[in-house]
């Protein structure tokens, strides 16, 4: 008798729990936001992705972080999965300004809004909004400080980021819009190191073999600045060559404090990520008049104001 009562209670509770599950899933399905980042090999993008996920979670969304490994094919696979899995929005750090357009179009066709973070795609009206660092203006400030620190003369090297990324050229053009006004400054080498620390070290080592007499190095990001600095240390030139980066990463902020790196452009990945997540939330809730493109100011960090900053932002 007891056995029958026990079995009846068990079946009743099981039915009740199934009914609860059904009720929960049907009436209040948790919305999902995907975060697709170009590479998780660079701490800056790790921070960007984590901040985007943190904000989206705080706004009540389920999140998942995807690493494109700097490869548009991998990125495309992620977009396919995101579409199949029915995500409600994508916070997107594109791998390539042109190569990533197709992926954004694919998401748009599936009715999923895409919010570009930090990196731009070369198409208007495809992404719902693009929240970007003002790389050009940030590099203008670095260019001005570069000229002042080198006293308008000397040989210098420029190490570019990925050639398919708009930020690479925005930074290079901003820098040259100042530096090219000073004929005493001669660029002896300009090479790409794909925003990668190890590649920048190799590139810098090769350049130093051909050009022993240099006074400054401008790098398109901080990872490359640290790579270039390592090469200069190995060549015994770290004391005489001034290194300039761009990002505002932990290690470069520390290196500026120690006098190893001269300056960087502080980007604000937290502001970018949080703005993108907030825009996605507003869009999901029905808002449609979001700005197509919004720029986040980049601040010059040097020995004079280093006390105001920490890695990836302000104190």
């Amino acid at each position: 008798m007891h056995k029958i009562i026990g079995q009846t209670i068990f079946i009743f509770l099981a039915c009740l729990s199934f009914a609860q599950c059904g009720h929960k899933g049907g009436a209040k399905k948790e919305k999902k936001i995907a975060i697709v980042v170009s590479t998780l090999n660079n701490p800056w993008f790790v921070f960007l992705g984590e901040q985007a996920a943190k904000k989206a979670k705080a706004l009540g969304y389920e999140t998942k972080l995807f690493d494109s490994q700097n490869n548009t094919s991998t990125e495309s696979d992620h977009f396919d999965n995101i579409i199949v899995e029915g995500y409600d929005a994508i916070l997107f750090n594109p791998t390539d300004a042109d190569g990533s357009i197709a992926n954004v179009k694919k998401a748009k066709a599936a009715g999923i809004p895409v919010f570009c973070m930090d990196r731009e795609i070369n198409a208007s009206g495809v992404a719902t909004s693009q929240i970007l660092s003002d790389s050009y203006s940030g590099a203008v400030d670095i260019g001005k400080y570069f000229v002042q620190q080198l006293h308008k003369k000397g040989n210098y090297v420029e190490i570019l980021g990925m050639v398919g990324d708009n930020n690479t050229w925005a930074r290079s053009k901003g820098f040259h819009s100042v530096v090219d006004n000073y004929p005493g400054l001669k660029m002896v080498a300009q090479q790409s190191a794909d925003f990668d620390r190890n590649k920048a070290m190799d590139v810098m080592e090769s350049i130093l073999q051909a050009h022993a007499n240099i006074d400054g190095v401008f790098c398109g990001n901080d990872a490359m600045a640290m790579g270039a600095y390592q090469a200069l240390v190995s060549a015994g030139k770290a004391e005489t060559v001034k290194v300039f980066g761009f990002d505002g990463s932990d290690d470069v902020v520390a290196a500026i404090k120690e006098g190893k790196v001269t300056a960087t452009g502080m980007q604000f990945p937290k502001v970018i990520a949080e703005t993108a997540a907030s825009f996605a939330d507003e869009y999901i809730k029905g808002k449609r008049d979001l700005p197509k493109k919004i720029l986040v100011a980049v601040e010059l960090v040097n020995k004079n104001n280093i006390g105001d900053y920490i890695g990836y932002g302000k104190k």
Partner: protein
């Protein structure tokens, strides 16, 4: 004769076809797809002569701004500053009176007249960035979806300062000279420093 006419006609057709098949354009124009569509120099010149003078006339006194920033920074930034980017940099047009301390290669050091006078720098060589463009409050981001046009406006305005404004006053300055100035400044609202303030000079008048 007929034969010569035929060959001549064929030659003319070939030349016409050849001429219309190719065109020569500067590589810089090809690289920059916006070239020719937006004339930043003409835009900046028009802004400088037609719209900016009224804005310069209404610049806030540097001492009033400084006092307001100390007592109510939010209100000061909201009322008197502009920026196209989101972030901490804010820009504004300021005016005041100063005494020249030193005329340097790249700038002029002045002491600004105030209850507690303080030093500032009139930038004469390194006039770069968005300070004047954004301080004017005349540019709306929505009118310029192309960021390269926005950058070019800054460049063109800075050119006007370097090539027209600076030569109009710098040769006449020496220590002790008193001036009336209107210019543009950048302030970081998270870390406000009036020490070593850099002023982009827009209008300098030498006082008797």
């Amino acid at each position: 004769m007929n034969r010569a006419f035929k060959y001549g006609l064929v030659a003319v057709i070939l030349i016409l076809l050849g001429y219309n098949s190719i065109y020569i354009e500067k590589l810089s124009n090809v690289k920059n797809p916006m070239s020719g569509k937006f004339n930043s120099s003409a835009f900046a010149e028009k802004m400088w002569t037609e719209k900016l003078p009224a804005k310069l006339d209404s610049a806030i006194d540097i001492n009033t701004l400084r006092a307001l920033v100390k007592t109510d920074a939010n209100s000061a930034f909201n009322r008197y500053t502009h920026a196209l980017d989101i972030g901490n940099y804010r820009y504004t047009l300021i005016k005041g009176e100063g005494t020249v301390e030193a005329v340097n290669e790249d700038d002029v050091t002045i002491t600004i007249k105030a209850e507690q006078p303080f030093e500032a720098i009139l930038t004469t060589e390194f006039v770069y960035g968005n300070t004047l463009r954004d301080a004017s409050g005349l540019i709306d981001l929505r009118d310029f979806p192309n960021t390269s046009d926005l950058n070019d406006i800054s460049k063109a305005l800075n050119e006007i300062i370097r090539q027209k404004v600076v030569p109009s006053f710098k040769p006449y300055l020496k220590p002790g000279v008193k001036i009336d100035f209107v210019g543009a400044i950048e302030l970081n609202k998270e870390h406000i420093h009036f020490k070593d303030l850099e002023i982009v000079p827009a209008r300098i008048k030498i006082l008797p």
